[in-house]
């Protein structure tokens, strides 16, 4: 590398992480999080309210040696991300609800061939840019076939940055698509964002194989493990097929092979659920009523908690950083300890069903749901709780 090349590389490195305090829009925080995590490929198709992610990427990525692609449609974007990932890239795409519909086959492929991919879904109401959390089920169950999806639900602009970094790290560690479930509320909001120094941001890279092509088996892994990666164009002759394949990557119809594949791929995630699906407890030590929320709805829950605490009510909040894989242990624990567990979400009531299942009739449960294009106010949560009867 010449002197000029070295200078260029240094400039690109310094330009990658914008350490400091910012007043930044959520969509741009995603861009900065991706860059800080090492993203070097982005493909996206225009859609509101996710455009700032594409626009930010188109400006920032080429300046740090990455590639920006505006796909001809979402099918191109998601599959270009899969292709780039298998070629070794840290690749991302972003869209809003209607565009997410088109991602399913690309996600199904990413799951099957174990390609690290990061996908941002800025949830919006049908055709309009109002706030909602109505995609909470689709982001898990959208693609066909057995799978376990990793979905992170940030609540703030700061978390849009932090969780995007984490999404890349989880994608690389578990070789799987990871979804950042954003929302209009936070995506278009500007807030205080603190970007740490580069060496304080943990960055995980996929494990490349140290084996020779003669001994390497592309889909060989421990029981609930993740295979080592070889990538394209390096002489490992791997078939990355969506079809059922054995450890060699050969397309096989054998039921045993099929079962092995579709046990390990979801299990590599579900068996590490407690590590992946982090939760935050707010004043839960002595709480008898728990408000459970993910994404932006955590914010009014915390305001409502403070108001109820002022009135002497023992209320806490369980914040789910990662709605999928479902944080089974943390939620079923509520069933044992609480009198009342209330799910607060910005849709007609979807994830609430999972919470209620995990509490399995051991405590009273309730739902505060609405789909009016607006985040709940703390007062609305208070009113709904009053309707549920006594709150201790």
């Amino acid at each position: 590398m010449g002197q000029e090349g070295a200078a260029k590389e240094k400039a690109a490195k310094e330009n990658r992480v914008l350490t400091g305090v910012h007043f930044m829009q959520g969509n741009y925080a995603v861009v900065e999080g991706a860059l800080a995590a090492g993203c070097n490929f982005f493909a996206g198709y225009p859609i509101t309210p996710a455009n700032e992610i594409s626009e930010g990427m188109s400006k920032r990525l080429p300046a740090v040696g990455g590639v920006f692609l505006q796909g001809e449609d979402e099918l191109c974007s998601i599959n270009a991300v899969a292709g780039a990932s298998l070629a070794g890239a840290k690749a991302m795409t972003a869209t809003a609800s209607a565009g997410y519909d088109y991602f399913q086959e690309g996600l199904e492929y990413g799951v099957a061939v174990e390609a690290p991919m990061v996908i941002v879904d800025v949830q919006r109401c049908r055709g309009e840019n109002f706030a909602t959390q109505a995609d909470i089920m689709q982001v898990h169950w959208g693609p066909a076939g057995d799978h376990e999806m990793v979905v992170l639900a940030p609540s703030s602009v700061q978390e849009l940055f932090d969780f995007t970094v984490r999404a890349f790290n989880l994608a690389e560690e578990y070789r799987t698509p990871v979804i950042v479930l954003s929302e209009t509320t936070i995506a278009l909001m500007r807030e205080r964002l603190v970007i740490p120094e580069e060496d304080k941001i943990p960055v995980v890279n996929r494990r490349w194989t140290s084996k020779t092509p003669e001994t390497y088996l592309p889909f060989e892994a421990e029981e609930w493990g993740v295979p080592d990666f070889a990538g394209l164009g390096r002489g490992y002759h791997t078939i990355y097929s969506i079809n059922p394949h054995d450890e060699k990557g050969s397309i096989e119809w054998d039921p045993d092979v099929f079962q092995r594949l579709y046990t390990r791929i979801p299990a590599k995630i579900s068996k590490h659920r407690e590590k992946i699906s982090t939760v935050q407890h707010y004043r839960m030590d002595d709480a008898k009523t728990a408000l459970v929320a993910y994404g932006s709805e955590v914010r009014p829950c915390l305001d409502a908690m403070t108001m109820l605490r002022e009135g002497g009510k023992k209320v806490g909040v369980l914040k789910l950083d990662v709605p999928w894989p479902f944080p089974e242990e943390a939620v079923s624990d509520l069933g044992k300890r609480m009198d009342l567990v209330v799910t607060v979400e910005m849709n007609t009531g979807k994830y609430a069903g999972e919470i209620e299942r995990a509490c399995s009739g051991r405590c009273r449960t309730g739902r505060v749901t609405k789909n009016r294009g607006l985040i709940h106010s703390p007062e609305e949560i208070l009113e709904a709780l009053e309707c549920m009867g006594e709150v201790s």
Partner: protein, 293 residues
């Protein structure tokens, strides 16, 4: 003393453990596979540094038998995958194997955009005139009036001219050939492999199991090859034919072979003079910079 058994020198490229292959007897896909390997061998390409991309369909199974990194199994998204691979690692040579349905039915949008961008991949389209793997349904290049599994009263679907479509959309190497013309097929694929930019080689091919039986009334590969020969007219010969004589025929040969800047991304920081050139719109009257990207 018996002579040592002769081994096809191309076997070194083949995944022996995947044999026997799954193509029907008399299918053209095996011929295309051989022709591709002859091209790789003749040009001395390093197959370790190449990647094959295939979607879904009979054609999509071709690279599964080659010792080569391969993406397989999502219908119609071959060029989307290839775009991601090429943009991230431009040094990896990428070859797409697609059937007619994969290429321009479900994958049609990607096809025209890859051509517009001059994505640096070779796409070999095996046109067997129907969706074969799914049982013989009508496809974008099925001849008008043909009986297929979904056109029992004859096809009312006007067909695409795939090569004309590729040329119009901006592909920089476009040729049509047929499994009935092995030397020409070899030449077209070899030239496609050498080409830098978006190359399309359409190979007219026989499907004895479905299209042959339903549309042409014969499952005989030889008869189907005769039928293909009958509808093929070389571009040179077509020059001296009347439009009535050309009606219903497919022209073979090369339709375009030119050079144009290859695609590097939707936007990039221009560093070298060649980068600057690639940012200009093609056909710009003044390439020196009158016309803005």
């Amino acid at each position: 003393m018996t002579a040592a058994p002769q081994i096809n020198p191309l076997r070194k490229y083949v995944r022996e453990d995947r044999m026997p292959h799954f193509f029907c007897p008399g299918c053209g896909c095996g011929q295309v596979l051989s022709s591709f390997l002859r091209g790789v061998d003749a040009l001395g390409l390093d197959i370790d540094k190449m990647t094959a991309v295939a979607g879904v369909g009979c054609t999509a199974r071709i690279p599964v038998y080659i010792k080569m990194d391969t993406l397989h199994g999502v219908h119609g998204r071959t060029l989307a995958w290839a775009t991601g691979i090429k943009l991230h690692s431009p040094d990896t040579k990428v070859v797409v194997f697609a059937g007619d349905g994969d290429a321009v039915s479900i994958g049609g949008n990607h096809f025209i955009h890859a051509a517009r961008r001059n994505l640096d991949v070779l796409m070999i389209v095996v046109n067997n005139f129907n969706f074969a793997m799914t049982g013989g349904q009508v496809a974008p290049m099925t001849p008008p009036g043909s009986v297929t599994m979904t056109t029992p009263y004859g096809s009312g679907e006007p067909p695409f001219d795939l090569c004309a479509l590729a040329v119009a959309a901006g592909a920089t190497y476009v040729a049509r050939t047929a499994t009935s013309r092995i030397p020409q097929m070899d030449l077209a694929i070899e030239k496609g492999l050498k080409h830098s930019g978006f190359g399309v080689v359409e190979v007219l091919s026989q499907c004895p199991t479905h299209f042959g039986r339903y549309a042409l009334g014969s499952a005989s590969p030889a008869k189907l090859l005769d039928w293909i020969e009958g509808i093929c007219v070389s571009r040179e010969r077509a020059n001296s034919m009347t439009s009535e004589q050309i009606e219903g025929k497919l022209l073979t040969g090369e339709f375009v072979h030119k050079s144009r800047p290859i695609f590097k991304g939707s936007t990039f920081i221009q560093e070298s003079p060649s980068d600057k050139e690639s940012a200009f719109i093609e056909g710009c009257p003044d390439k020196k910079g009158e016309c803005r990207p």
